[in-house]
Symmetry: C2
DNA sequence: TGGTTAGTTGACAGTCTAGTCAACAATAAT
DNA sequence: ATTATTGTTGACTAGACTGTCAACTAACCA
């Protein structure tokens, strides 16, 4: 009963895009409403505050990316190739956004986490939550790689955190240099960190 | 001739502290002036804009830290211990600031670079510039480590960037988790990345 | 068809924003 | 002591900010 609306989802995606391209602080509610084609009154009908919208936007964005993650981290795929695939996906998507917007925009979660961790507890917690979901995928892949014997015995939890750190750091450097090519050899760096001394032909076969 | 003033330097340090603890966007000129004990008119006597103040603040902060960097990366010190020392310094200072402010504040350059890389070209460039100075120290240490034979032969430029990525990523994760202990094993991670398979007794001797 | 619910609207409040400016005050050099 | 210069001040603009609200409208259900 009552009328229906897509204003909520339009606000979510407008917010994500705008904040990703600039920053949380630099984007106003008016601007989000304008891009979404929604009036401010409706904004506050759906969301109690800008901060709450942001939390919902990141959760919603994550959910939209779950299928991609499931594909990349499919147990069908050899463990190290999952991680390699994740690195290359990051590289590729930054390159695409660079072409489209003229900027390396970095990781949406990392951006907002870095900006607001000390200011907005809910956004900090949501960022941490999503990062832990990503870590779980990495952990599983590493644990599988150990089992299969692709890498030496190591603590998957620890190793996943190390790997994720390199990824986040490389994304940050790419953003600061505004150069997506910083990410070109991310996969090799990560494999090196995992103790894969010589990158095997199988893994490199897809480097064109 | 004319009167002298320390307002400029007070503004620089107030700006750095405030922005570091929250973010560029969340800190206002009025707030900076209040903490610095300087009226806004004076602010705009010394700086053309908030953005210009930020650039000057980061340059000034770097300059104040050069002696520390020179000590840590002294050529007197064994190459790998320089890198280890840098990691441990990062860990320690984040722990101190966590105790003082209740928050892991992260790397000041990375924070502002992440927030403003797509918005403020000058701040982006300054961040990149300072990061390159840090990379130069790492590069030298790695190059020395290769020469001394502490690590296998590798490209120092590439390796320095990899090492720095881990550091930035770990700092970011510590901030998002608001937990400085994320950085506790950063030195071991970095040495691992450099191919130091078994962390030697000499290097671990100072772990209590 | 009528009632209930869900969603829309635009004007509004109050506060904060970066930045300006002309008049004023202190000091260093002559 | 005068003067040129350097720095201080606080009131001011003009716009942006988040958030509010009461009146209005559309659609679903019975």
């Amino acid at each position: 009963m009552g009328r229906t609306s897509d204003a909520r989802s339009k606000l979510l995606s407008a917010a994500l895009t705008l904040i990703w391209q600039s920053s949380y602080g630099a984007v106003g509610v008016d601007q989000i409403c304008e891009v979404a084609g929604v009036k401010k009154g409706s904004f506050y009908y759906f969301f109690a505050s800008k901060s709450e919208l942001a939390v919902a936007a990141y959760e919603s964005y994550w959910e939209s990316k779950v299928p991609d993650m499931e594909a990349i981290f499919s147990s069908e795929c050899p463990p190290l190739e999952r991680i390699e695939g994740f690195c290359r996906k990051g590289y590729q998507s930054q390159r695409e956004m660079f072409q489209r917007y003229g900027f390396v925009v970095g990781c949406p979660y990392a951006n907002v986490g870095s900006e607001l961790a000390t200011q907005d507890p809910r956004i900090r917690a949501k960022t941490q939550e999503i990062m832990e979901r990503i870590l779980a995928y990495l952990e599983q892949a590493i644990s599988d790689a150990v089992e299969v014997g692709d890498v030496e015995k190591l603590n998957p939890k620890e190793a996943a955190r190390q790997v994720y750190s390199v990824m986040l750091g490389a994304l940050l450097r790419a953003k600061v240099e505004n150069n997506p090519e910083v990410l070109a050899d991310l996969d090799r760096t990560v494999l090196r960190l995992l103790g894969v001394r010589q990158v095997s032909g199988l893994l490199t076969s897809r480097y064109e």
